[in-house]
Amino acid sequence: MARIIGGLTTSHVPAIGGAIARGLQQEPYWKPFFDGFLPVHAWLEEVKPDVAVVFYNDHGLNFFLDKMPTFAVGAAPEYRNSDEGWGIPTLPPIPGEVDLSWHVIEQLVARDFDVTTCQEMLVDHAFTIPLKLFWPKSCPVKTVPICINTVQFPLPSARRCYQLGQAVGEAIRSWDSDKRVVVIGTGGLSHQLDGERAGFINKPFDLKFMDSLVSDPEWATQYSIHELVEKTGTQGVELLMWLATRGAVPGFVRKVHTNYHIPISNTAAGMMALECLD
C-alpha cells in the first residue's frame, strides 16, 4: 500500500511567480519568504516523494460560475497551466497520477463525498507556484489536484474540508502501490483583497492556526465559514486547504520546518512542512 510521508502547506500569492521568473529570491523583500523553503528542500531530497496530492483553490481559470464545484478531483494524464489574465509566466504541464486519481474518486464517492471529476483541467498559480517553491529545479512528482471552492458562497465548512482530507488520506493509504505520497495544501494565510477591509491580516490567529495543525488538528473546525472570513479575511479562508491537508496526514506529525512572514503582496505568507509519524 502507498505511504503518506507528510504534508506541506504554503501561501500561493501570484507575485511569487513573478519573483521566481525574475530571480528575485535573494532580494531583501523576498529573501525572508524564499529562505523559509530551504530546510524543506533538504527534507524532500531525503524523503523523495513520488506523488503529490494537492489541495488548492481555483481563481477563475478552470471554473466559472456556470459550473462551480464544491470539491473537484482531477483525473487527467497531465494538467496544463494557462494565462490567468495578468501576465505571470505560464509553466509547463504537470503530470497526473491517474491511477491514484480514480482510486481517490472511487473512495470519496463511496464515502458520500459528491465530487466533480475532471479528466481535463487547467491549473492556476495556486497549483503551480507551490510546486515551484518546494521543487525549484524540476518537479519530481506526479500529481492529483483536488480543488476546493472558495469563490462562490456557500463554501464547504471547515469540518467538511477536514473530513474530505481524512477520506483522501484513507484513500491514499489503501492505494495498491508502493509509492510515497506527500499531501500539499496551498492558500492563505490571513489576507483580504477586496472591500474597505482590504489589507486585513490577523497574525495571532495565523500563528495559533499553524500551531494547531501540529498538535490539535481539528481546532479550526470549530469555526463557521463566516467566522473564518471574519478572523482571516475573504481570501484567508483559503486556509481550508491547509486543514484538508492535515486531515489527510494521519495521527502524529513532526514539524520539519515552518515559516511565517508579513507581508508578501497583501498576504501573511505561511509555510509548514510536517512529517507523518504514523
Binding site: 477563475g60 490567468e84 495578468w86 469563490v151 483583497l193 477586496d194 495571532p204 475573504t234
Partner: protein
C-alpha cells in the same frame, strides 16, 4: 433565516451577489484570454455591451472603481483579471479601496507585523 452579523468592509459573495454580478463576472472571466483583453482595450463600450453589463456595472468599469465593481456584484477572483488589464496590482487595489496612497497602504501591511503573536485569552 438568521443572517450572521456583517463584517466591516467585507462583502460575502453569496447567491444574491452572484445573481447581481453574473454579466460582469462573465466578462472578467473572459479576460483570461489575451485576445479578449485586446478586444476590451480596443473598444471598452462595445465589449461591455456584448456582455450585457448593466449601467451600474458599466459605470464602475469606466471609473475603475473597485468598490463600485464589488457593489455591482463583482467577485474579487474575476475582478483581479480586469485589474490585470489596467496594470494594477493588489496593493493599488487595496490603496484605492481604503482611501490611502499606495505607500501608506504598503506601510500599513508591514506594520501588521507588530501584532502580538498571541492574543490575551
Amino acid at each position: 433565516m438568521n443572517q450572521p452579523r456583517p463584517i466591516f468592509g467585507t462583502t460575502i459573495f453569496d447567491g444574491s451577489q452572484a445573481r447581481k454580478g453574473y454579466a460582469l463576472n462573465r466578462m472578467c472571466f473572459s479576460f483570461n484570454d489575451a485576445a479578449n483583453r485586446a478586444a476590451f482595450k480596443a473598444d471598452e463600450e462595445g465589449y461591455m455591451r456584448s456582455y450585457a453589463l448593466n449601467e451600474q456595472q458599466s459605470a464602475a468599469v469606466r471609473g475603475r472603481d473597485v468598490l463600485g465593481l464589488l457593489a455591482a456584484g463583482g467577485n474579487v477572483y474575476y475582478l483581479a483579471k480586469f485589474a490585470g488589464i489596467l496594470g494594477l496590482d493588489v496593493q493599488d487595489l487595496g490603496a484605492q479601496q481604503t482611501g490611502m496612497s499606495k505607500e501608506e497602504f504598503k506601510a500599513r501591511l508591514v506594520r501588521q507585523n507588530d501584532q502580538p503573536a498571541a492574543t490575551a485569552g
